[in-house]
């Protein structure tokens, strides 16, 4: 009997012995760890998209140890959805990188690894990325490796801007490479209370659409066209007052219909007709014309019919008209809108030195052959034959024309004379000239056409001059408000504006 009792007791203890906690038999020693000191750094960084994020925490490695560094950035979690992937943005101890993430809230994390022990330490910072692209001037230029875009903001462009800012290389920072081909145009399309808020960029073999708020990519190339077989050769683009996106591609007109969603705003096949367009478009005209352009092949203005996707002639001129829109007989040098929302077209004669300014009222809703307003002979103006760039005032009866190094103020309406308005520094060649002409101008009407941007190139570097002007007389203040350096020859500039 005792044997049974002993056996049972032995079994009992044996069974529970395995449950005995192992209290261990170890020696504990302190292992030195990396210390990251964030004193005085703050926890949240707010910055403009495509500007540098700089964070320099104090890092103390154990004596004699080496460290490796990894900075990550990832979306800040605001729900229980699956986490977004992180991206390594630096392997340096001090962070100094341009942030190209879309506008939003992010976390950037520094992970320091002690290479000797393999022990890691980390610290996180909140990053709030904004864009501030409501008002400014977009600069498109051709650099050594391709096209790119800068964005300039100064107090001259909006009363909401207190200081200058210059965001560089917006395109290449967003897309990872420069614009292919020869850069041609940039345009901001904004429509109040509608979806349209895009920036369109084109070169001779490339076209792309970006979000206007922060310049994040939307679509490009064949995704911009309804017919994938279209040979991509953009030359001019405009978002006009009929809410049509109009493109000249391969000398042909492509106009989008009105669409409710961005994904359906694509360029259809070319407008039907026998024509070759000059690479100029205007935004303001009566909606009954859908779009107007100039047919260089047949030396005539043409109108566009959206319903049948075709171009056609304007009506024959009524008696006393200054010229025949169907037979101008000249080559177009430039076309833009100006005072009274008229269309101002600069021409040269097909032979000889004749230079002309033709003014047309395309704001008349019906064409009774009476759209021509006036024809101004520019031939005898100083350096008229050297004029290569033009701008037309919306406030006064003057235009600017620029030669290689001079800007002339041409009083076409009063005296038909021109005088030098601004002389560029020696060695600098004018490559682009644009008013600050924001659309919409509701919030910045007091700034519209108060500054003129003139870009120059000296063979190695470019400058953009911000010149203050009198909006009614065109008199230019001889001291630039600002001068910005750009890393390529400027080919186009456009105002960026919202409500």
């Amino acid at each position: 009997m005792k044997g049974i009792i002993y056996l049972a007791i032995a079994l009992f203890f044996t069974t529970f012995l395995g449950c005995k906690k192992d209290i261990g038999n170890y020696e504990y020693t302190d292992t030195p760890v990396v210390q990251i000191d964030t004193t005085g750094l703050g926890n949240t960084y707010r910055l403009l998209r495509l500007t540098p994020l700089k964070i320099a925490p104090g890092i103390r490695l154990p004596e004699g140890h080496q460290g490796t560094y990894k900075w990550l950035i990832y979306k800040k979690q605001t729900s229980n959805n699956a986490s977004t992937s992180s991206k390594e943005i630096s392997d340096k101890a001090v962070l100094d990188v341009v942030i190209a993430e879309p506008v939003g809230e992010y976390v950037t994390e520094l992970i320091v690894t002690d290479a000797t022990t393999g022990i890691t330490s980390n610290v996180t910072f909140n990053v709030s990325v904004t864009a501030n692209m409501e008002f400014g001037m977009m600069i498109l230029y051709q650099g050594a490796h391709g096209g790119d875009i800068d964005f300039i903001r100064t107090p001259a462009l909006s009363s909401t801007i207190s200081g200058n800012s210059h965001i560089k290389n917006m395109y290449s920072l967003t897309m990872g490479k420069p614009i292919s081909g020869q850069a041609k145009f940039i345009w901001s399309a904004f429509q109040a209370y509608q979806i349209t808020n895009w920036i369109t960029v084109g070169s001779d073999n490339y076209i792309a659409r970006f979000k206007g708020d922060d310049f994040t990519f939307i679509r490009d190339q064949e995704d911009m066209y309804r017919r994938p077989e279209t040979v991509i050769n953009p030359q001019a683009y405009v978002f006009n007052t009929s809410s049509l996106h109009v493109l000249i591609n391969g000398k042909k007109l492509h106009a989008t219909g009105n669409g409710f969603y961005e994904s359906d705003i694509k360029f259809p096949g070319p407008a039907d007709g026998d024509y070759e367009l000059a690479p100029y478009l205007v935004a303001r005209h009566a909606s009954s014309y859908s779009s107007i352009a100039y047919d260089q092949k047949n030396s005539r203005f043409v109108r566009y019919y959206l319903s049948t996707n075709m171009i056609d002639n304007f009506a024959a001129p009524a008696a006393g008209q200054a010229f025949d829109l169907r037979n101008v007989g000249k080559d177009m040098l430039y076309m833009t809108n100006g005072a009274s929302n008229y269309t101002y077209a600069f021409f040269k004669d097909k032979t000889g030195a004749g230079r002309w300014l033709y003014v047309v009222d395309f704001t008349k809703t019906s064409d009774a052959g009476n759209l021509a307003v006036g024809a101004y002979d520019m031939t005898d103006l100083p350096d008229a034959t050297q004029a290569k760039l033009f701008q037309v005032s919306g406030f006064g009866g003057y235009t600017y024309y620029a030669t290689t190094d001079k800007i002339y103020n041409y009083a076409y309406r009063s005296s038909n004379t021109a005088s030098v308005a601004f002389q560029m520094p020696a060695g600098e060649e004018i490559t682009c000239m644009r008013y600050y002409k924001p659309v919409p101008n509701i919030s910045v009407a007091d700034k519209e056409e108060r500054v003129l941007y003139v870009a120059t190139w000296n063979g190695t570097r470019a400058k953009v001059y911000e010149l203050a002007i009198n909006e009614t007389s065109g008199v230019v203040n001889q001291t630039p408000l600002n001068v910005f350096e750009v890393t390529g020859k400027v080919v186009d500039m456009a105002a960026r504006a919202t409500l």
Partner: protein
């Protein structure tokens, strides 16, 4: 004695329970048979179920007597590391097409490590398709790899023909329908069906058309027709007229 007996009994019970508790049998996990169901869905926000499809041999070269139609399926059960082959079968009720004459089934494919694939039906271009549209109701057949899955997606309907019949999706932008006009469109665009983009908030898939797409097609056809009429000026049948004698216009 009584105390000793209680101690022994208690000890043996404790030991017995402790020992036997380790013998508890593991419960097997649930294993789903490999199954597939039809998974054709519209390109809209709700991914609306599609349970039928039409096909015409009009867009197929005349000498081609067969064409294979693939219908998307989705799997149930574990993902497989090897390719698997679902197959369809006929549902006799309502079908007017005859297996072996009008069509045949061949194995479809669910590629390795994928949860979506397709079943395949080879459609035959028989003479009667010139006069009628045939209909086939099909279901998922049992193969070595799959059985039929979700009941709601268990059947699918195919209709096909080889004749001009105004499609339900004929666009307003093409104007009045005629067989001649329809044939002209098929000849030049190679498109016989014009389903509208269901939600412009979602990028159109190939084979879906927005209003602007259809307007662009009409614009293209207008130019092609004009050029064809000009190239054949004075020849019989030109300018192109429809079966009712009216000029074809876009």
């Amino acid at each position: 004695m009584n105390l000793v007996y209680k101690v022994i009994t208690g000890t043996l019970l404790t030991v017995g329970i402790s020992v036997l508790s380790s013998c508890e049998k593991d419960i097997d996990g649930y294993v789903q048979d490999a199954r597939v169901y039809f998974f054709e869905r519209s390109n809209d926000l709700n991914q609306t179920r599609i349970s039928n499809r039409s096909f015409t041999f009009l867009t197929v070269p005349e000498q081609q007597m067969k064409d294979t139609l693939y219908i998307k399926v989705k799997t149930m059960g574990e993902v497989s590391a090897v390719d698997r082959y679902p197959i369809a079968k006929t549902v006799a009720e309502g079908s007017t097409a005859t297996e072996g004459i009008d069509y045949e089934f061949i194995p479809g494919l669910v590629a390795a490590n994928q949860i979506e694939g397709n079943v395949a039906v080879v459609l035959h271009r028989t003479a009667r398709l010139k006069n009628e549209t045939v209909l086939l109701n099909l279901a998922i057949g049992e193969s070595a790899d799959f059985k039929g899955g979700v009941t709601e997606d268990g059947t699918f309907t195919l209709r096909w023909s080889d004749r001009l019949v105004q499609p339900d999706t004929w666009p307003f932008y093409f104007g009045t329908y005629s067989d001649v006009k329809y044939q002209f469109i098929i000849d030049h665009l190679g498109i016989a069906d014009y389903p509208h983009q269901l939600s412009p908030r979602i990028e159109a898939q190939p084979g879906e058309y927005s209003i602007a797409d259809l307007q662009d097609m009409a614009s293209r056809l207008r130019i092609i027709l004009r050029e064809e009429n000009a190239a054949n000026e004075g020849k019989p049948g030109y300018p192109l007229r429809d079966e009712n004698g009216a000029l074809v216009v876009f």
